[in-house]
């Protein structure tokens, strides 16, 4: 447990993998992961979000604008903020093809399609894995 009275070690250079499984069907579960990832990247943590199951739907062009947030606005500004801060987005090719029926060209620019084996590689390589 971190002692709150002492400064935490600088996380610069650490790697975090964030696994995202929720899509637009559950808007309340979409905002916090992007916000947290944006913050981590700002802290110079090498931050990757891996989208599988229905989560790749969030990366379909024009989809984030249609995900309303309880605090107002929509998800797009948080996706933009995460990307602006340097978060990498990877989408599971199998989920895109079989569940979401998204073609690579329908994804936001810069999203990389990868296979499931990549998830194993990333998880083993990361300092920490967070699942949403």
């Amino acid at each position: 447990m971190t002692d709150p009275t002492t400064a935490p070690p600088d996380p610069e250079g650490k790697k975090i993998l964030m696994i995202m499984t929720s899509g637009p069907e559950d808007p309340d579960k979409t905002y916090a992961p992007f916000y947290t990832a944006a913050l981590m990247a700002a802290m110079e943590i090498d931050t990757t979000m891996y989208f599988l199951m229905h989560a790749p739907e969030l990366l379909r062009r024009g989809a984030a604008e249609r995900v309303p947030l309880k605090k107002g606005g929509n998800l797009k500004m948080f996706i933009d903020m995460a990307r602006e801060n340097g978060v990498k987005f990877l989408a599971c090719a199998e989920s895109c093809r079989d569940l979401c029926e998204i073609a690579e060209g329908d994804l936001l620019e810069g999203v990389q399609l990868v296979g499931s084996a990549t998830l194993a590689d990333l998880a083993l390589d990361a300092d920490s894995v967070i699942s949403f």
Binding site: A7, D10, A38, L39, A42, M43, E44, K71, M81, E84
Partner: protein, 149 residues
């Protein structure tokens, strides 16, 4: 003091304006004081947490000097020049809303010992700075507000 779009820009400061960054710099001999400008604190919203790099941390120009989070925005405050953090502001770490209520005063973020003095020449000043801010405020439709602590 110049006011544009309700945003205050004190005289005598230098400004680092690149991508999403809008910070001010006050020259103090071989050190600089760094903080968020009025439009930067407005865009962030009421700041909930700020984490500043520890004293002794070397920063290259454009590398994060601090992180700021408000619930609606989370991002880095980039170092406007290369240097070594000589003093993070402990007051804003205790009360982050100082960034909103007094961005050019008690809300300063860090003091840096400058290691590449020539980089100071790249910072914006005077009319060039105001012209740049005028463009950004119009483009992003920013009108400054100072939330209360």
């Amino acid at each position: 003091m110049t006011i544009l779009g309700g945003c205050e820009f004190p005289d005598g400061l230098l400004y680092f304006v690149e991508r999403t960054q809008m910070t001010w710099v006050r020259l103090e001999g071989d050190t600089v004081l760094v903080g968020l400008t009025d439009p930067a604190q407005t865009r962030a919203g009421k700041v909930l947490h700020v984490r500043i790099k520890a004293a002794g941390t070397a920063r290259e120009r454009g590398k994060p000097l601090a992180t700021v989070e408000s619930g609606k925005w989370a991002g880095p405050v980039m170092s406007p020049v290369s240097g070594v953090v000589s003093e993070p502001n402990p007051e804003v770490e205790k009360d982050p809303t100082l960034l909103n209520t007094d961005p050019y005063g008690k809300g300063w973020i860090a003091r840096l010992k400058v290691t590449h003095p020539d980089e100071v020449n790249d910072l914006l000043r005077g009319e060039a700075a105001l012209a740049k801010f005028r463009e950004i405020l119009e483009r992003d439709n920013i009108h400054c507000v100072r939330c209360q602590s």
